[in-house]
C-alpha cells in the first residue's frame, strides 16, 4: 500500500494555533480586553445622567493637579512606596538570610522550609483576621507575650495609630509572603556548583567573603527578579489593607495605598457613590507606575548585570 505523502507541500502549522489557543483566548478575554477597556474608560467622563462622554486626558490632569485628588493620590502613592520599601528591606533581606541558612544544611531544613512558606498559601482574609486578634488591645495575645518577656510597656494599639498602622500592615504582609523570596533565593543558591565554593575556600575565603564575593554576584539575577516581583505585587496590593482597615484605610488615610484608593474611587464606599471614570484613571496610573518599574528593571538592571553560565 502506498502512503500518501501529506507533508510534501508544507501545510499551515495548525498545531501551533491549537496549542496557543486556550492560553491566548483566556488571557485575551479576561486580561487584555478588560485592561484596554479600563484604559478607554479612563479617557471618558460620566455625566449626571450616566452617559459616557469623551474627555481626553482630563481625568489624568485632574488626578494629578486638582488639589483634592492629587493630595489623595500622592498620599496613596507615597504610602505605597513605604509599603514597598519595607518589603524590600525586611522581606527580601530576611528571605535571603533564611535561604542561606537553609542551604547551609541542617536536619530540620525541610521542616523549616515548609513552615516558613506556610503563611503564603493561607488566605489573606485569614491572615488579616489572625493578626487583628493577635494585636487586639482587648484580647490579643500580643500584649501578654511582650509582658512575659518584660517589654509590656512597649505595647501600643499599632494597627490603630496613624504613626504605626502602615508599618504594622507592611510587616504582616512581609510575614505572610516571606516564603516566596526565600524559595527563589534558595533555588538560586542551590544552583551554585560546589567546586566554586571549594576553590574559594582553597584561596582562603571565609564564609562571609565567599558569600559576598562568590555567591551574591551569582544570584544577582534572582535579586532582580525578586525585586521586580515585590514591586509589582506591592503596587497591586489591596486585600490585606481592605481586610484589616476597610475601604476607608484609616486612621486619616494613613494606610491608604493605590489599591484601596482605586477601590474607593471606582466602587464608592458607604454614602460615596462610585466614580468609574476616575476609578479607571487611578487604575491607569497604577498600570503606568508598574510599567515604569518594569521598564527600569528591563532596560537598566537586566542590561547592566553580568550573568554567568554555571
Amino acid at each position: 500500500m502506498q502512503t500518501p505523502n501529506v507533508h510534501k507541500s508544507r501545510s499551515f502549522p495548525w498545531h501551533i494555533l491549537v496549542f496557543l489557543a486556550p492560553a491566548v483566548i483566556v488571557y485575551t478575554v479576561f486580561m487584555i480586553i478588560p485592561l484596554i477597556d479600563s484604559l478607554r474608560l479612563s479617557l471618558y467622563a460620566i455625566t449626571p445622567d450616566h452617559q459616557e462622554v469623551f474627555n481626553g486626558l482630563n481625568n489624568y490632569v485632574v488626578l494629578l493637579t486638582d488639589p483634592r485628588w492629587s493630595a489623595a493620590f500622592q498620599n496613596a502613592f507615597w504610602n505605597n512606596v513605604k509599603f514597598f520599601i519595607v518589603h524590600m528591606v525586611v522581606q527580601n533581606s530576611i528571605g535571603l538570610l533564611l535561604a542561606s541558612l537553609l542551604v547551609a544544611g541542617g536536619r530540620a531544613r525541610s521542616v523549616y522550609r515548609t513552615l516558613i512558606f506556610a503563611p503564603t498559601v493561607l488566605s489573606v482574609v485569614i491572615i488579616g483576621f489572625i493578626w487583628n486578634l493577635i494585636l487586639s488591645p482587648l484580647w490579643g495575645v500580643g500584649e501578654g507575650i511582650l509582658k512575659a518577656v518584660g517589654l509590656g510597656a512597649l505595647f501600643a494599639p499599632w494597627l490603630g495609630l496613624a504613626s504605626s498602622a502602615l508599618t504594622t500592615l507592611s510587616l504582616i504582609s512581609v510575614w505572610q509572603f516571606i516564603g516566596i523570596p526565600m524559595l527563589l533565593f534558595y533555588v538560586a543558591l542551590l544552583g551554585i556548583p560546589e567546586e566554586l565554593m571549594e576553590a574559594a575556600r582553597v584561596d582562603g575565603a571565609g564564609g562571609w567573603t565567599a558569600f559576598w564575593r562568590i555567591k551574591f554576584p551569582l544570584i544577582l539575577p534572582t535579586v532582580g527578579i525578586v525585586a521586580i516581583l515585590t514591586f509589582v505585587g506591592n503596587f497591586n496590593a489591596f486585600d490585606l489593607i481592605y481586610t484589616v482597615k476597610g475601604a476607608q484605610a484609616g486612621p486619616q488615610f494613613a494606610t491608604d495605598i493605590m489599591g484601596t484608593f482605586f477601590y474607593r474611587t471606582f466602587f464608592g464606599s458607604q454614602l460615596q457613590l462610585g466614580n468609574p471614570a476616575m476609578g479607571a484613571t487611578v487604575a491607569g496610573m497604577m498600570l503606568f507606575i508598574i510599567l515604569a518599574g518594569v521598564a527600569v528593571y528591563l532596560f537598566f538592571w537586566q542590561r547592566r548585570i553580568a550573568t554567568y553560565d554555571l
Partner: protein, 447 residues
Amino acid sequence: MNKFFAITLLVAALALAACAAPPAQPTSAPPTAAPAAQPTSAPAAQPTTAPAAEPVTLTIESWRNDDIKIWQDQIIPAFEKSHPGIKVQFQPSAPTEYNAALNTKLEGGTAGDLITCRPFDNSLTLYQKGYLAKLNDLKGMSDFSDVAKSAWITDDGKDAFCVPMASVIHGFIYNQEAFDKLGLKVPTTEAEFFQVLDAIKKDGTYTPLVMGTADQWEAATMGFQNIGPNYWKGEEGRNALIKGTAKFTDAPYVDTWAELAKWKDYLPAGFEAIKYPDAQSYFALGKGAIYPAGSWDITTFNDQAKFKFSAFKPPVPNAGDQCYISDHTDIALGMNSKSKNPEAAKAFLEWVATPEFAEIYSNALPGFFTLQNAKVDLKDPVAKEFVSWRDQCKSTIRNSYQILSRGDPNLENELWRLSAGVINGTITPEEAGKEAQAGLDKWYKPQ
C-alpha cells in the same frame, strides 16, 4: 534566554496590573447563587386552595446579615402563610460590601427581586438608573408620613421607590448592674454625664465608655450624630447646613467635636485599634458601663449580655434644654424593576406596608422602629425606652445623609475620618470644623 525571561516578566506584570482593571469583578461581590427552586409542600399544606401553579421564589437582597435568623424564622413564614404559592429567600451580604456588591449584581442582571434600600442617594441613583421600580400606586404607601418617605423619594417629592421599613435611634446603652453597684443615676445633662464617667473611672471596676475608633464610622455615627442634634437643634441645624446658613465651623458643630474629644480619657486602652464587633463583645461581657449605641445594638446585647441593661438619651448641654434625638430613616424595601416575578414582589411589598409586618418586624428586631403611622405595641423594654424619646424630644436624621453627601469629598466619609481623628486626639475640634466645611465648599452650592 534573557530576552525570553524579560518578555515573560513583562507579560506577568501586565497580567498582575490587569487585576486592577475595573471590569474585573471585585472579589467582594460573590456571584448570586441561583435561588434553589424548592418544590416544597406548600400546595399540599393548603389543600383547599386551588392547586397553585409552580411556586414563585422571591429573593431579597440585604445588608442585614445579622437578621438572617429573624427573616427565616419569623417574617418569611408569616408571609408565606398568608400567600401560598410564593416562596421567599433572604440573601444578605456583609454591610460594608453591600453597596458595591448590589451595584455589580444589578448591572449584571443577577440581583434578587426585592432590594433593601439604603436611605437617600444610594437608592435614588439606583432608581434613576432604572434598577428600582416606581411604587407610587402601591397599596399601603399612604400609611407613611412624608418624613418617613423622605429618604426614598425623588428630590421633587413625586416618585417613591421604596417602602419605608424602619428607623434607628441613637442613645447610650448602660449596664444597669454597674450603675446600681456604684450608686449612679442616669445623667441628663452633659455635666452629669462626665460626673458619672469620672465616678466609674475612679472606681475602676468597669471601663467607663466602650467604643473604638478603628472602623471610623462608630466615631461619626455613635459619637458625632448621637450627641450632635442637641447642639445644632436637630432639623433646624440640618436644614440650615443644606441652605448654607450654617457652617461646620459654627459653634454647634465645633462644640460637638469638643465634647467628643473629651471621651478619649474614658475609652478602653488601645481604643484606636478596637473594632466595632470588639467593642460590642467587650460591653456584652460586662466589662464596660456605658456604650454609645444605635438602637440596633439591642438585639446583639439581648443575645449576648448576661446582665440587665437599659438606655438613656443623649444628655443635653444645659439642664432644661429641649432635647433632640437622631431618629434616622435607615432601611426600606424596593423592587428590582427587572424582576421576573413582579406580581409576587408587589404582593410582598404590599404586605411590608401593613401593620401586621410592622408588628412582627419591630418586635422581632427590637431597635428597628417602624415608620408607619399606626402605633405598634413593643414588648422589649429597652426598645420601648428608645422609642419613648420620640414623645419627649424632637427627631432628626443624620445631617450628612440628605443631599450633602453627593459630591466629592463625600461629607459622610469626611465625618467618619474627622470624628475618629478628634477622638484619637490627632485633630482638634476647630480643625475638624474647618476641614469638613472646606470639603463641602469644594462642590456644594447651597440651595
